[in-house]
């Protein structure tokens, strides 16, 4: 009888005390070929898959060595749903499943090979994707989302995003401003969805996490007039890189004359505190690093 009582108490405590959640984001560079709009040979793609799975599994093992945590991973530049399933299987992280994969298409209806995805060990209540919708300008891609069940009366709304790059065809200031505008408009769309969710789940604890490749940052002078990330701060989000020096948050190591940069962020709202955070090298799979953030 006493044993049963103790077991019951342990179960009760386990139900009431919520564990940490490990968030990760990784732009995987045209995964699994590593080449824009082009497939590689099967052997080559298989080798990339193995390397990527090793990096993901290694980061999870490192971050959950001391104590377990639920996992949410945001992935970008994924070719399709199949390569997402392959990655999750190969990583072999217990309980990790694909929650959402986008299926963005070009103007002729052919799926892009730069999809965004969410993988998680948590139960998924709702998931899907949406393209960026803007009256003034067309914005490439969109976002994948997943509403996760994080225990009694608790929900985590997750968004995986890959915002417009800084690529400008004719290298004019107009193109540059247009790119910034596209990122700002995308951020505004996410924040509008977050507001709607807040109204819908007013009675429940709603935590929100936005992860991905923002292609901008709040450090470099070239983005000083840009409101993309700052608009999240205005809506009470916090950055995974808060209080870190520039050299401590390089997510896109510099190449070909381009300096080191921070492009990949995890922005969060409604969590008590950061337990740990670490950046793992993404090479040779990707030119972006894997960012991890453990939240309580």
């Amino acid at each position: 009888m006493r044993t049963w009582l103790v077991a019951f108490m342990v179960m009760l405590v386990a139900c009431c005390v919520r564990g940490d959640v490990l968030f990760m984001t990784w732009n995987m560079k045209w995964f699994p070929s590593g080449r824009a709009d082009l497939r590689s040979g099967d052997d080559e793609e298989s080798a990339t898959l193995t390397q990527a799975a090793r990096i993901v599994a290694g980061a999870v093992a490192d971050q959950t060595r001391r104590s377990s945590a639920d996992i949410v991973m945001f992935a970008q530049e994924m070719r399709d749903a199949e390569c997402c399933s392959n990655l999750v299987s190969a990583a072999g992280v217990k309980g990790l499943n694909v929650a959402a994969v986008s299926c963005f298409q070009d103007n002729s209806g052919v799926p892009l090979w730069q999809q965004v995805a969410i993988f998680t060990t948590l139960p998924v209540l709702r998931s899907g994707y949406a393209v960026w919708s803007n009256a003034e300008v067309s914005i490439p891609r969109g976002f994948a989302y997943a509403l996760l069940d994080a225990g009694p009366n608790a929900r985590i709304a997750c968004f995986s995003i890959h915002l417009k790059s800084n690529f400008a065809r004719d290298n004019t200031e107009f193109e540059n401003q247009k790119n910034i505008h596209k990122r700002e408009a995308a951020a505004a769309q996410i924040l509008a969805v977050v507001r709607q969710l807040g109204e819908k789940y007013e009675d429940k604890k709603l935590q929100v996490v936005v992860g991905g490749d923002f292609n901008t940052n709040d450090d470099d002078l070239e983005y000083v007039s840009e409101a993309t990330i700052r608009s999240f701060y205005g809506a009470h989000f916090r950055s995974c890189f808060r209080d870190l020096k520039k050299s401590q948050k390089i997510t896109h190591p510099g190449t070909n004359g381009f300096p080191d940069a921070t492009f990949d962020y995890i922005l969060y709202r409604g969590f008590e505190r950061i337990v740990s955070r670490k950046i793992y090298q993404g090479a040779p799979v990707s030119d972006h690093n894997l960012v991890t953030l453990r939240l309580r």
Binding site: E136, K178, A227
Partner: protein, 160 residues
Amino acid sequence: MDALIASLSILTVVVADYTRRVVRCSSKKVIASIFVVAICLSGVCSQEGNSRHVMGERVTHAALRAENEALRIENEALRRENQMLRRELVARKGGKAAASDGVPVKGNAVEVPVPQDPDTGYWISSKSHIRHNPKCRSYRKVRGRACGPNDGKPCKNCGG
């Protein structure tokens, strides 16, 4: 700063006692004069602690904080203005290409079927609009779709 004043006071009493014994003058006079010096010193120190020199001019921390706050507000206003100008610029000059916007949010994206391309024997690249045939190494390797024998431009290597 309070700690500094307390230490100065203790020092004053100790020094006063020593001076009284050595110089044999009135302890009240000594204590009073040392206190005056200590208070003046602490005043100078507190002034130093809350101020700094900017371009040769002494500025207090309170003034710097106010200036900082004013700059922050100005910065935010400029950023908003920039954002509005960008929006206007793009709307006026940018024009909107026909795109896939306005598509409603789709549920359970994992279950959305990926369209399967029929095997027509021709493959057209989405980006370059170049047509390939099965003998070409680009056939079904570049992102694209199955097409007819006359779609797009024929590939220079395989003839399309």
